[in-house]
């Protein structure tokens, strides 16, 4: 009986691995098929040589970094404040940070377009810079659940109150406390949130497309609709980025307890 159930567990595990690995292998194999003679990496050469790829990819990275910076400026002080002085606000704040998981991205961007269009009080979509700002804030909203949780987890591992009191006695201002005492102590947790944010931003399509921004996701969609084989090369590139980002998070998680202990 016991041995039988273990056998079936292995069968289920094997099927699971097959279902999840096969599409990854198939994508890679497909991307090599661009020439009739046999497998080549030409699809990758074509992708990397495409100036549009370079432009959109760079743009997505820049927006991603802006998203991380703005996201940290918003979440770190709020999470710190709630943890230290207003624990009664925690359920409300947490509810708000989970809203982006509840409201689909397409709803958010529709709301932005109606609220910040050219005939509104704050016409962000009028200029390129304004639209970039709007896109960044939209991505901050998408990343908010992950970012806030990462920061909050980081704060949980350190003694916020003692650090704050010590810094206060030494005459540090609140800005100094957050930026030079609290932040360096939670940097590992923050970085894992940052990598997740980057992974989300790099592949995002819906919001950027409706805001008419030429990001990597929109480029991928264009290629996907018009080319064969190269989309799969792009998919492999994007899988590698996602896995790279997740791998970094795993790696950082190993370092996290160490920093917590030394503080």
């Amino acid at each position: 009986m016991k041995r039988g159930s273990r056998f079936w567990s292995w069968v289920i595990f094997g099927l699971t691995v097959a279902y999840f690995i096969l599409p990854l292998i198939a994508t890679f194999e497909f991307s090599l098929r661009i020439r009739r003679e046999g497998y080549t990496f030409d699809a990758y050469a074509i992708v990397f040589a495409d100036p549009k790829f370079q432009q959109t990819f760079l743009y997505s990275i820049v927006i991603g970094i802006c998203t991380i910076i703005v996201g940290l400026l918003i979440t770190v002080p709020a999470a710190y404040y709630v943890r230290l002085k207003a624990p009664q606000l925690r359920p409300i704040i947490e509810f708000v940070t989970l809203l982006p998981l509840v409201i689909p991205a397409i709803i958010l961007v529709f709301g932005y377009i109606r609220l910040y269009n050219s005939s509104s009080i704050l016409p962000l979509t009028n200029s390129n810079l304004g639209t970039d700002v709007l896109l960044t804030f939209a991505y901050v909203a998408l990343a908010l659940p992950y970012m806030y949780r990462a920061v909050d987890t980081g704060l949980r591992t350190i003694d916020v109150r003692t650090l704050t009191e010590a810094a206060n006695i030494l005459g540090a201002s609140q800005v100094t406390i957050i930026s030079r005492v609290i932040f360096p102590n939670i940097i590992v947790a923050v970085l894992s949130g940052a990598f997740l944010t980057l992974a989300i931003v790099i592949g995002e399509f819906t919001i950027a497309s409706l805001l008419n921004r030429q990001v990597f996701g929109v480029y991928m969609q264009n290629i996907g609709a018009n080319k064969a084989y190269t989309p799969q090369a792009l998919a492999v590139v994007s899988f590698v980025i996602t896995w790279g980002a997740m791998g970094m998070i795993q790696l950082l998680a190993r370092f996290a307890p160490k920093t917590a202990r030394t503080t």
Binding site: S5, R6, W8, S9, W10, I12, F13, T16, L22, P23, I25, A26, T27, E29, F30, R33, L73, I74, P77, A78, Y80, V82, K85, L89, V96, L99, I103, P104, I106, I107, V109, F110, Y112, I113, R114, L115, F137, A138, V140, A141, L144, N168, G171, Q174, I178, L196, G203, F205, M220, Q221, G224, A225, P231, L234, A235, S238, T242, W243, M246, Q250
Partner: protein, 312 residues
């Protein structure tokens, strides 16, 4: 006492803070009343939440009940009763419900097998790690991956044809309802595993032993003890998976173009080019989506509190 002073504070909050801040030159006010710094710490978050989460969403909700002249109307909501829109909602609900049911069923079986099936614990941690990544795999690359796998020239299609002479493309099309469902399962199953793994951990081995002492078989244990305890969790994950699929658009858009008319794709076309020829109707469409996802999430929140009772 504390209650009274708290309400007094919040009533006069904005008015009384001015003088407090100006008179408070005290650097050691970190445990006292709210200082300017406290407001500055929370202000970016509050402003951001208002400007980029709450107001845009509420704007759509209000917009669904307002006509072009700004008067109250139910005409937009009534406009949803249109064959094209109703069909879109039907397909969306069907694809979300089917992938939620299959995703949570398959995810539960996998999680049970890997966590309680006597496999090495390394399998469990690698499964959970992988699920964390794969649950974020939605989007364009996933569509490309499944075209390369199950499409007309996909790897699996070709293997089936050359090895077994079976032509998959006759019975299955990846650019279809079921093609989309199989693709969605790629992120639905991992999401289920992520949600349900902690719940399965909560079912203590001792309960299993206690049941066994009383003469219960393994099957009886799961039927009469395990499942009833997991039941709220299952219902919760079902609604979360439903909402997850309902809002997804990029995968479907890249896979099927606009041939499969789900609500997010219809809304996408409406935002881009007002295909319904009525801006108010777009807001009503958005309201419909908000109501459905909110409903699914409320179910999740309600059953979660019940689920936590046993699993500590």
């Amino acid at each position: 006492m504390a209650n009274v002073s708290a309400t007094a504070d919040s009533n006069t909050g904005p008015v009384s803070t001015g003088p407090v801040v100006r008179s408070g030159g005290n650097p050691f006010r970190f445990l006292g009343a709210l200082s300017l710094g406290d407001y500055l710490a929370i202000a970016p978050f509050v402003i951001f939440a208002l400007m980029f989460l709450l107001v845009p969403t509420l704007g759509l909700v209000v917009g669904a009940f307002v006509d072009a002249q700004g008067n109250f109307t139910l005409q937009n909501i009534a406009g949803l009763d249109d064959p094209q829109i109703m069909r879109a909602f039907t397909i969306s609900v069907e694809i979300s419900a089917i992938t939620a049911l299959l995703g949570s069923g398959i995810g539960l079986v996998i999680a049970l097998a890997v966590i309680r099936g006597g496999l090495p614990s390394a399998m469990r941690s690698s499964l959970v790690t992988f699920s964390g990544v794969a649950s974020n795999f939605a989007g364009l690359p996933l569509a490309f991956a499944f075209i390369a796998t199950l499409g007309r020239l996909g790897l699996v299609t070709i293997i089936l044809k050359t090895l077994f002479g079976f032509d998959l493309s006759r019975s299955f099309n990846v650019i279809s309802f079921w093609g989309l469902a199989v693709t969605y399962l790629y992120f639905q199953i991992p999401l289920m595993i992520l949600i349900i793994a902690p719940a399965i951990d909560g079912i203590k081995k001792e309960w299993n032993e206690a049941a066994a002492t009383l003469g219960a078989t393994n099957r009886q244990f799961w039927l009469w003890v395990g499942l009833p305890i997991l039941w709220p969790n299952l219902l919760g994950s079902l609604s979360l998976l439903f909402a997850n699929a309902f809002g997804a658009i990029a995968t479907a858009y890249a896979l099927t173009g606009s041939s499969l008319n789900i609500v997010p794709i219809l809304l996408y076309a409406q935002i881009q080019g007002d295909v319904l020829h009525n801006p108010g109707l777009g807001a009503a469409l958005a309201l419909g989506m908000i109501v459905i996802t909110a409903f699914a999430n409320v179910i999740y929140l309600v059953v979660r509190t019940r689920a936590e009772r046993w699993l500590r």
